[in-house]
């Protein structure tokens, strides 16, 4: 058991190292010094306290999104709809945030978070029902619903809760609904801590409770689970709803903690990148934490790198994708590693 964990971690690290090597080749190909670029990137991500705050702030949506994707993936489902669940959840959080002034701060935040989770859950209910009742593959239905959520929140932003002005954004949330900042002036907020706590809770749930066991067995082999007396349809439904609820929380953190209002199309694709984070973290809640921080660091670092070295900041995003290509090829790497380890023992 210990050794397989070691292999998993080592193969993830290998994927990251291989991606950095390919990235160095790309930086070299556009005529820049890879070492200088990576140096600037590292400094921008971990160089001082503001750099760390920026990294963790950017990692926060990926913690939520990664956990959301992972809980569905553990049940054998691919929730590509986190983006839409995030938009709807974020919108509900914003509405509760600006329409209920006068609530005590803790209660207001809690209400907004609960509303956001409910919004994301509602968004996931549709693909869940479509899957269980009509056999629609969730990859297709969740993708379609992303566009629907985008349009719906766009409508609410522009026509219903629009704050006068040129920007498509809603009113500001009340100060009582703002997620507490941790290291001002950075945007790092209490949502980060909430994400870390959730990761631990989810870890305990998945690996140390009977429900978590049912969920994982269903994911490994739905037919076998049914023979073992697990009501797999129910488990599948619960997993996709939980996934959507966490997707809603991802939106709430951005809205209540960072923008403090709903801005139309605020996401640069958090929901999709979160899938990559979950994969890098091997769909394990505790693996997702370092994976999310790495992705946050790549973004924070490449942002400040592009100011110092003439390398486009999209390099960070490309590195994220290349990491996933290598993670995808990991079954192969993992096999090789296990064989090597065995040979080393023998």
């Amino acid at each position: 058991m210990k050794r397989t964990l070691g292999v998993e971690v080592l193969s993830s690290l290998l994927a990251v190292a291989a991606a950095l090597a390919v990235g160095a080749g790309i930086i070299g190909a556009i005529g820049q010094n890879p070492l200088a670029a990576y140096g600037a990137m590292f400094k921008g991500a971990f160089g001082d306290v503001p750099a760390w705050a920026d990294t963790l702030q950017r990692a926060t949506p990926y913690i939520f999104g990664g956990l959301g994707f992972a809980i569905a993936a553990q049940a054998g489902l691919f929730n590509i709809g986190l983006e839409g669940q995030m938009y709807l959840g974020g919108m509900v959080a914003a509405i509760i945030g600006f329409s209920l002034p006068g609530l005590p701060a803790g209660l207001h935040v809690a209400a907004a978070l609960a509303g956001a989770a409910a919004g994301g859950l509602l968004m996931a209910l549709i693909p869940g029902l479509l899957k269980v009742r009509a056999g629609v593959h969730e990859v297709i239905s969740t993708v379609m619903l992303n566009y629907v959520a985008y349009a719906a929140t766009g409508y609410l932003t522009v026509h219903v809760f629009h704050e006068p002005g040129v920007v498509a954004q809603t009113f500001k949330v009340a100060p009582t609904a703002v997620l507490w900042p941790l290291l001002p002036p950075s945007k790092l907020n209490a949502g980060f801590i909430l994400g870390v706590i959730m990761a631990f809770l989810l870890w305990i749930f998945l690996f140390y409770t009977p429900w978590g066991y049912d969920l994982r067995v269903t994911g490994l082999n739905r037919r076998a689970a049914r023979y073992a007396g697990i009501r797999s349809t129910r488990v599948v439904m619960a997993a996709i709803l939980a996934s959507g609820a966490i997707g809603g929380l991802m939106g709430a953190e951005r809205i209540l903690g960072v923008y403090q209002r709903f801005i139309h199309a605020f996401s640069p694709g958090y929901g999709f990148t979160a899938i990559a984070v979950a994969l890098l973290g091997q769909n394990h809640p505790l693996g997702i934490l370092p994976a999310a921080i790495l992705f946050g660091a790549l973004e924070a670092g490449s942002s400040s790198m592009s100011l110092q070295v003439d390398v486009p900041r999209e390099l960070g995003m490309m590195l994220q994708a290349i990491i996933i290509v290598f993670v995808a090829a990991q079954a192969f790497i993992k096999n090789r590693l296990s064989t090597l380890l065995k040979r080393g023992e023998g």
């Binding site: 992303n146 629907v148 694709g269 994220q320 996933i324 290509v325 995808a328 090829a329 079954a331």
Partner: protein, 306 residues
């Protein structure tokens, strides 16, 4: 305003449907040998980008199309390598290809042109035009039909003939249904998988090139806007057949063309924008139970020892 049938809507239907049915054809060539391709959208994006850039530098839109085919084939080799060679999860590989294309195209836009939003304008593929305009009824539609649309329609016919009227097509389909049975007949299963996925992804690249050098004459950031996913839906709706995919794409194309037309109404634009996606969902909800894809799609094939 809001006509249901007009020359304008029919022209737009065909133009919007073209990348969808070429992409769906590409998707079904992957799934027919058992490889799911969620990366269709990313491959289309890469095809659109390479077509525009090649067309800009060589001043030939057709060279751009050829380059899109090559890039699609290369990504197909990558996808097949991950899914068939490394036996990794197909959806994971597809998601990686989507993220890679999104970031790489913006990265290269910035590097080549110092602009993250769009490429400079480039030559585009022509349309039939000229004498065809004189033909009654279909004349105005033919006049504005891109040569690439015609190529696409011919490919649908060719795809149908290949799949259903050749020995190769029969073997190809058997690989997706039961690779082990195919193997026992002595077929080079892995070769069929690689070949078909590479061809399918090359078609996805072609579908993307229609966006940048067929419909427009420029590449813009994220210009596929999810069309790859709609192509995937069209493939399922069309029951994994070339003509079915064509009809499904024409249906989606019509809904979207009508939607653009309907934006003059008093209905908020966002409602109308959501219609194609809601229509897709509704259609899938009704047909999904009755359609069945290739039996082995999405599963790893491990060559069994004989």
């Amino acid at each position: 305003m809001g006509d249901f049938v007009s020359v304008g809507i029919l022209q737009a239907t065909l133009a919007i449907a073209t990348p969808l049915f070429i992409g769906a054809l590409g998707g079904l060539f992957c799934e027919r040998v058992g490889v799911i391709n969620v990366g269709l959208d990313g491959i289309m994006l890469a095809g659109a980008f390479v077509a525009a850039v090649t067309s800009y530098f060589t001043q030939s839109a057709w060279l751009g199309v050829a380059a899109a085919l090559v890039v699609g084939a290369c990504l197909g080799l990558l996808h097949a390598g991950i899914c068939v060679g490394f036996k990794a999860d197909h959806v994971v590989s597809g998601v990686a290809i989507n993220i890679l294309s999104t970031s790489a195209t913006v990265f290269l836009l910035q590097f080549l042109f110092g602009n993250k939003g769009q490429s400079p304008s480039c030559p585009k593929i022509g349309s039939l035009g000229g004498p065809w305009a004189e033909v009654p009824v279909v004349g105005p539609i033919l006049e504005n039909m891109s040569y690439l649309t015609i190529v696409g329609l011919l490919l649908v016919v060719a795809g149908h003939v290949l799949l259903y009227h050749t020995k190769m097509g029969l073997r190809l389909r058997s690989v997706g249904e039961n690779p082990y049975a195919a193997q026992s007949l002595g077929l080079p299963v892995v070769g069929y998988m690689y070949g078909s996925v590479i061809v399918g992804c090359a078609l996805a690249g072609l579908a993307g090139s229609f966006l940048s050098v067929g419909m427009l004459n420029v590449f813009t950031k994220n210009m596929t806007a999810g069309r790859g996913f709609i192509a995937l839906a069209a493939m399922i709706f069309g029951r994994w057949t070339p003509f079915g995919a064509l009809l499904a794409s024409l249906f989606f194309g019509y809904v979207m063309a009508w939607q653009i037309n309907a934006q003059g109404w008093q209905v908020p634009a966002q409602f109308v924008e959501a219609i194609p996606y809601l229509a897709t969902l509704l259609v899938l909800a009704f047909v999904s139970k009755r359609v069945r894809g290739p039996a082995h799609a999405g599963k790893a094939y491990v060559r069994s020892e004989l």
